[in-house]
């Protein structure tokens, strides 16, 4: 006879339902010894996809190796990738050791990410809020972040991990770099086991304080990627959120070849300092500039924190403009409305571009004539100034502000 503990394990739930819930479902499962699979479905979209949902649930159970169970599903219009993740979470919570996995189809392009691509904006998507995933790629952010850390309740980490894994396959995020913020290690290692097979472009490592944390994550990524034949590059971006982390910024930056950028988490950092986070950010100026310097010393991008008042676009603009002036190349966004403001703020100004273009033209002329010295009018231009102008024009091209031949792009 099964013990009470075992019996309790054989029943489980996952997901959410209710009047205010949209595009999610709640799956209740009770494992059985015999009798096959019984599905009770109440769905807001019964009239449109009732048959498809029942069919999918059978497929998922078959893949997981569940042969006898009763399922009750309260569906609020969940998309197939969500239904798959919810059923799987319920099955795992019921104590089943699955025979396999059900994965949603992946039939769109997933463009490769490069080490130094534009990372002006990254749009945060709470890992449990799957309804926000589908259209996240439409807003033109340079990256989207599927977050498994702070936005996911401790009891939902297992389920969110499956949602995020499925989303990495099923959702077309367009040209956005696909980032995942995992949990702090060691919990984050389990996140990596689940998501690395789906080849996210970049892993954000929260609360990184020492280089060995980055090394540990790197090793696990390498191990899982090798096991699942993932050949796409998977970059890392440590988030430094403590005084100790800031002290170790240089060592962290150098800890792994996968690291392409450093970023800072100001809520935790100011808490660690025991100070209030202000609009001006004076209290974190040291930390931000130190992180910036550490990043540049390793040839990495330095990426700023987020601006948390989504209604205050002027405040965001001013923060982002100061951030660019310090040397940051981008920041996080917590609402799609912030993206265009951030992009404008991190773009070089028209005057900067015009000046840089003149220098680039002078540089090209000098090169063509075999001269080592670049001059503009009567003025000689120093090599680092030339270098900065070349980089600025190249960035402006990537941002689509100037065309390939240098003409200013027409305004959208």
């Amino acid at each position: 006879m099964a013990s009470i503990a075992e019996l309790a394990l054989r029943r489980a739930e996952a997901g959410r339902c209710g009047k205010d819930v949209r595009s999610d479902c709640k799956v209740s499962i009770e494992l059985a010894e015999a009798g096959g699979v019984l599905i009770e479905l109440r769905s807001r979209v019964e009239a449109y996809y009732g048959d498809a949902i029942r069919e999918q649930i059978l497929e998922v159970l078959l893949a997981l190796g569940v042969k006898h169970a009763r399922l009750h599903i309260e569906d609020e219009g969940a998309l197939p990738f969500v239904i798959g993740a919810r059923v799987e979470a319920a099955v795992l919570r019921a104590g089943v050791h699955p025979e396999g996995t059900w994965l949603p189809a992946c039939d769109h392009e997933r463009p490769l990410s490069s080490r130094d691509r534009l990372r002006r904006s990254r749009l945060y998507l709470p890992g449990s809020e799957s309804r926000l995933f589908v259209n996240a790629g439409l807003y033109g952010a340079d990256a989207i972040i599927l977050d498994l850390e702070d936005s996911v309740h401790a009891d939902e980490k297992d389920a969110a991990r499956l949602l995020v894994r499925n989303a990495l396959r099923a959702i077309d995020f367009g040209g956005a770099e696909r980032m995942v913020r995992i949990n702090q290690l060691p919990l984050g290692l389990a996140d990596l086991d689940a998501i690395v097979p789906e080849a996210p472009d970049l892993i954000l490592l929260p609360k990184t304080e020492t280089p060995d944390q980055a090394v540990e994550a790197d090793l696990r990524i390498t191990e899982v990627a090798r096991k699942h034949d993932v050949s796409r590059p998977i970059w890392m971006m440590p988030i430094i959120e403590s005084a100790l982390g800031i002290e170790n910024a240089g060592a962290i930056a150098a800890a792994s070849e996968r690291i392409v950028a450093l970023t800072i988490g100001l809520e935790d950092y100011t808490a660690d300092l025991g100070v209030v986070k202000t609009q001006s950010g004076d209290e974190s100026l040291y930390a931000r500039t130190r992180l910036l310097n550490a990043a540049k010393a390793e040839g990495l991008q330095a990426i700023d924190s987020v601006y948390s008042d989504v209604a205050d676009m002027d405040g965001l603009r001013s923060w982002a403009e100061r951030s660019r002036a310090l040397g940051f190349e981008g920041m996080g966004c917590i609402h799609p409305g912030q993206i265009p403001v951030v992009h404008r703020a991190y773009a070089p100004t028209a005057a900067e571009i015009a000046k840089a273009m003149k220098i680039v033209v002078a540089f090209d002329e000098a090169k063509a004539m075999g001269r080592g010295v670049v001059s503009l009018g009567s003025k000689m231009i120093d090599p680092p100034v030339v270098q900065r102008a070349l980089e600025l024009v190249e960035r402006a091209r990537q941002m689509g502000i100037v065309t390939a031949n240098g003409a200013p792009e027409e305004k959208a």
């Binding site: 807001r44 979209v45 009239a47 996809y49 009732g50 048959d51 219009g77 259209n135």
Partner: protein
């Protein structure tokens, strides 16, 4: 024209390929023959002859209560009683009139509202008891479900605001008694909607009723001495005036504030539409537009406001449903006039009451098929919603994709006459595709729908090559509608199942000219 028999009813295939009954509630019908094809002949219906000798010379038409008024109007079995919906979900009078008729023992009434709201769902009880035979007007919520399940004795008839006026003029609907809730009235029956504690804006939806009904009762909770100025309803049409403590729940008549959507997807759609008008040159000095009070429409007005200001462009007129967002345009001098069919918020009501450039309009001036022209066709661009749009640009606003009644037509069909008709819709809702192969219920023929703006891109009807050319230079994502549909099907997990309906009609959808455009079928189970 092919025909068939279903549930004992003869069905005809109309010019849109839809099966429609040959007769509805005992009246012969004409099947939709195509846009601008139907031309009825003869004279419009006329009201009965009245003589002022039969009315009090001191102009005092007050009676103590609604029951007395109904009795004096000769209320009897089988009559048609009409009401307007300017009080929206706060209205008390339409229901009160029908319930009073029930207390008087009358049966088999036809209720002819300009629209119904959930607050009127107790009419279900009156239909169960035989007091109300059927409804010709919009049905949604519980009333829509009642009709969709085939519980109503007669067929529902869904008409546009203009179509309601046309049906009265065609003599298809003869109103025996019009009950007009009025926020302010005088004892003679002059009435308006702009004054009083229940102010709702205009009263245009009651205008035809006041002119054509045999009997007209004005019910008010703000009686003023003669004259009530302005008189949006003329007392010369009115038989009786009834004073009551309250004609409705003020908080539901107009909302204190109308809310712009906060959904990023919907904001994106709204911005697309505003940029479309800007980039195609529709937004130019002296232009005009109409937008409703939905979240996307409000946000659209807000974005367009910015683009108009940036470009220094001024509209000649804008058409409401008015809201704070239209009033802001007027105040800033970015439009010369608001021509207002109904008023959705307090700012709209205040503006209509106090600003001579904010003018009340009626379905006659705006929409009526039997007018010598109407305003709707003179509007440069209109922004509307829809439940479903298909790959041929046909649209549905009256039923859910599962076949259940959802909405009335309102002014939607009439507005399709604008120079550029834009449907602003999400491409799917939760897991319900909005862009589909074929609409469940045809409410607007695709040839009249020019642009469909979704969060995944904008589709332009191939019939509008001029718009396609005009949008060439724009950075907007212009896409084929079929491509958007395929993308949505991929997201939602394949094509949705077809609505499961029976072959029994429960309601019909009229086109603006009074012909039958489509049929709403009883849903299964």
């Amino acid at each position: 024209m092919s025909s068939a028999i279903a549930s004992g009813i003869e069905l005809l295939r109309n010019a849109a390929g839809r099966m429609v009954p040959s007769s509805v509630n005992g009246r012969e019908q004409t099947a939709f023959a195509g846009v601008r094809q139907h031309r009825p002949q003869g004279a419009t219906a006329a009201p009965r002859i009245h003589s002022n000798a039969d009315f009090p010379s001191n102009g005092d038409k007050r009676v103590p209560d609604l029951a007395t008024a109904l009795r004096l109007c000769g209320l009897r079995d089988g009559m048609t009683i009409s009401s307007h919906h300017h009080m929206r979900d706060g209205d008390r009078i339409a229901l009160q009139a029908l319930q009073t008729a029930a207390e008087m023992g009358v049966r088999d009434l036809m209720w002819f509202p300009s629209a119904s709201f959930p607050c009127q769902s107790p009419v279900i009880d009156l239909m169960d008891r035989g007091v109300v035979h059927h409804i010709e007007g919009s049905m949604n919520g519980p009333l829509g479900d009642y009709c969709s399940h085939g519980k109503m004795r007669g067929l529902g008839i869904l008409r546009s605001h203009g179509g309601r006026w046309q049906a009265i003029q065609d003599g298809e609907v003869h109103i025996d008694i019009a009950v007009i809730a009025a926020p302010t009235a005088d004892p003679f029956g002059n009435a308006n909607g702009v004054q009083g504690k229940s102010a709702c804006g205009g009263l245009g939806f009651a205008l035809a009723d006041s002119i054509y009904a045999d009997h007209v009762i004005v019910v008010t909770d703000n009686l003023v001495p003669f004259p009530c100025v302005p008189w949006q309803i003329q007392g010369n049409h009115v038989d009786y005036v009834v004073e009551v403590p309250s004609i409705g729940d003020r908080s539901k008549i107009v909302s204190g504030t109308t809310q712009i959507t906060r959904s990023p997807d919907r904001l994106r759609i709204a911005d697309f539409v505003a940029r479309f008008l800007r980039d195609t040159g529709i937004m130019r000095n002296g232009f005009s537009f109409q937008a409703g009070a939905g979240g996307i429409a409000l946000a659209f007005v807000d974005y367009l406001h910015r683009y108009m200001r940036e470009a220094g462009v001024r509209a000649r007129f804008v058409r409401g449903g008015s809201t704070r967002y239209l009033v802001d345009l007027l105040k800033e001098g970015l439009t010369d006039y608001i021509l207002d069919g109904q008023t959705f918020d307090i700012d709209g009501v205040r503006s209509l009451a106090s600003d001579p450039r904010h003018v009340s309009s009626s379905p006659f001036t705006s929409y009526n098929f039997h007018g010598k022209g109407n305003f709707a066709s003179m509007v440069d661009a209109v922004v509307l919603g829809a439940t479903e749009v298909d790959v041929n640009f046909n649209a549905n606003v009256v039923t859910h994709s599962d076949g259940r009644l959802l909405h009335g037509i309102g002014g939607w069909q009439n507005c399709l006459d604008a120079g550029c008709t834009i449907l602003a819709v999400p491409s799917f809702r939760d897991r319900i595709p909005v862009i589909v192969d074929e609409v469940t219920t045809l409410t607007g023929p695709g040839e009249m729908i020019d642009v469909v703006a979704t969060e995944r891109g904008i589709a332009i009807n191939p019939l509008r090559q001029d718009l396609i050319r005009a949008a060439k230079a724009s950075s907007l994502p212009i896409r084929e509608i079929g491509e958007i549909k395929r993308e949505v099907e991929k997201i939602c997990g394949g094509k949705p199942q077809k609505a499961r309906v029976t072959d029994k009609p429960v309601a019909v959808v009229k086109w603006v000219d009074g012909t039958l455009l489509d049929t709403v079928w009883q849903v299964q189970k």
